[in-house]
């Protein structure tokens, strides 16, 4: 079956352990609600096969500057996922952290990021991500010291590129987590996810666009590669 049909024909079903069963909600209030809603959506998109044997808590934490966190010990043992109640895009932020957790604990060897370790099941994803316009633009920005943006009076001004931030965005595990959250949004077509994705992808005049998320057309090859990996890992049947 072409990967492009995998998300639309609904002949598939999530397979194996539901993601919600390996994440334990210990937060309360808004964070608990967002985590529950997000896990319900993720469970409709995929399971985690039969290999998952970890379970970690979801707690309220993070901060305004870092709304979501995935924490683990140096030896690889996972601690928890944190989500801030002040996040402006909470479903995407939470799902991004779930992406880190799956990458670090469920795909490949537990305790190392499969995306960074060169795990074969993600080789198609790696190629697809590197070929996208968004990542090519980030790579270009990582080599630039200044960038021209429109000024408030209609002219232009040159501003320095924050290359440390760009290099952070280009880390394999960050590319994976952002890919994963966008895949869940696209596959589920959930209104909260799509609204938040639109906020994250909005462009504003006078600013450098650091394309953390992908345009829909730029994302299609990533989507296909991730759906192939999901089938290969038997997260769907």
């Amino acid at each position: 079956m072409p990967a492009s049909d995998m998300g639309r024909d609904k002949t598939w079903q999530p397979a194996g352990t539901p993601v919600s069963s390996i994440l334990r909600i210990e937060a309360t209030g808004k964070v608990a609600r967002v985590a529950k809603e997000s896990l319900d959506v993720i469970d409709q998109v995929h399971g985690v096969g039969l290999s998952a044997h970890v379970a970690i808590p979801i707690v309220e934490g993070g901060s305004f500057s870092r709304p979501g966190v995935f924490e683990y010990y140096k030896g690889g043992r996972p601690v928890h996922i944190e989500l801030s109640s002040r996040s402006s895009t909470p479903h995407i932020d939470f799902t991004h952290e779930v992406g880190h957790f799956l990458d670090h604990q469920v795909i490949g060897h537990p305790g190392e990021y499969a995306s960074r370790a060169g795990n074969a099941v993600l080789s198609g994803w790696r190629e697809a991500v590197e070929a996208t316009e968004a990542v090519q633009r980030l790579s270009d920005l990582s080599e630039m010291s200044r960038f021209r943006v429109s000024g408030p009076g209609g002219g232009f001004r040159y501003v320095p590129v924050d290359r440390m931030y760009v290099r952070y965005l280009l880390r394999p595990q960050e590319l994976f987590a952002r890919s994963y959250a966008q895949l869940v949004a696209m596959e589920s077509q959930n209104a909260d996810f799509l609204t938040e994705m639109a906020i994250l992808r909005a462009t504003r005049g006078g600013l450098i666009k650091y394309p953390a998320q992908w345009r829909n057309d730029d994302f299609m090859a990533i989507r296909e590669s991730l759906l192939r990996a999901i089938m290969e890992m038997k997260w769907r049947k």
């Binding site: 500057s65 010990y73 501003v159 931030y165 952070y168």
Partner: protein
């Protein structure tokens, strides 16, 4: 009071970054925390005592 006096420089730093590198407020908050050495990202590695391990700056290279 202490919280307020700490919050003000942070808000000023966010505004300065928004202007300097022409980014959104949420990006500036994240960049301010990275530049301030408070965080290395949204994945936190802990030592055996539960303390955050802050990678050296060269760990920011693209793997």
């Amino acid at each position: 009071m202490a919280e307020m006096s700490k919050a003000l420089p942070q808000e000023n730093a966010v505004k300065e970054i928004m202007h300097r590198v022409a980014c959104t407020e949420s990006e500036a908050r994240f960049i301010a925390a990275i530049e301030g050495g408070e965080i290395d990202g949204d994945c936190i590695e802990l030592d055996e005592h539960g303390r955050e391990i802050k990678p050296k700056s060269d760990s920011l290279r693209v793997a």
